[in-house]
């Protein structure tokens, strides 16, 4: 799934990836009580003056949550926007803690996989 992709998004493929993890994703998104406890366990949140955009809950809701809400009908621009939350604001250290047991890194990793499948991923030579 890392083949070169055209500018258009293969929404059917995105939907297929979403459906594969639908149950876990749906539960995770509905379980989040916005308690912000995950924030304290995120070193990036603490290192960025507690900027709410670095809260793990914000990152997963505004990455995989967005794709889920759109039922996979996303365009390249949206995936690029999502990639900021999925990559630049998260290093996937897997240390975030959720009292409800939401596997936040798994959700963000899924958002990354969907982005990757459509050719959106970090360019380290730019």
């Amino acid at each position: 799934m890392t083949e070169q992709k055209s500018a258009a998004v293969d929404t059917a493929e995105v939907k297929r990836m979403l459906d594969k993890h639908k149950a876990k994703m749906k539960m995770s998104l509905s379980l989040c009580a916005h308690c912000s406890l995950c924030a304290e366990s995120c070193f990036l949140f603490n290192a960025r003056n507690k900027d709410p955009k670095y809260m793990p809950s914000y990152k997963f809701i505004n990455s995989i949550g967005k794709i889920y809400k759109k039922k996979g009908k996303v365009d390249k621009a949206m995936l690029e926007e999502i990639s900021v939350n999925a990559w630049k604001r998260c290093v996937l250290c897997t240390r975030c803690y959720c009292p409800f047991g939401i596997d936040i890194p798994d959700m963000i990793a899924l958002a990354r996989s969907i982005c990757r499948s459509q050719g959106v991923f970090p360019q380290y030579d730019e």
Partner: protein
Amino acid sequence: MVKGKRKPLEEIRAALAPYNKVLVTGCGGCVSVCLAGGQKEVNLLMDDLKMLFKQANTPKHLKGYTVERQCNRQFLAELDELAPQAECLVSMACGAGVQYLAERFPNMPVFPAINTIAIGVDREIGIYEEKCRACGECVLAYTGGICPVTRCAKCLFNGPCGGTNKGMCEISNDIPCAWYDIYNRLKDQKRLGDILKIQTPMEWRNQTQRTVIQEGYEKRYAGR
């Protein structure tokens, strides 16, 4: 971060010769940053291999997939469905990632496509410099933040050898003498006393596979 470099194409081609279905796996961690084994490099390697096999009239079915980190079990699980569909796996991760991948799919041949070079720093985009050999006995505190294990050709711990030559190493005039630099830095910091104490030599031969259990986690992993 870990730095790597892609193996020569011919070496990878030769390893894959007996197989028809190949899954090339990239790693979104360190090797992505050093432009050796991320998604972009997976695409490039697949293009190169496809052309090579086509030219040799032995086309193969190549598929590529990049996971976030091959040194993490959670992210490797993403390959559980895809990997068994192939006859062999190519890993573009560092040596740790290759071994973790091989451990997860013990019945499948796994071939590395990267030579793991060093733990290093990014000088510029595409230029990476070794800084650490993970010796497990860090001495940077008394060497002014310059690593004699990495920088000195003889890994000396107690000053330079007789081959130091006007600030350069005897093995090449292009290589600065680590101990010359250590001395000057400590002198500038007025800390020359730090290198007067004799350091015991490293017992390299006693090194076995190391596992790190951080403080506070001993009870949880007792018996491992």
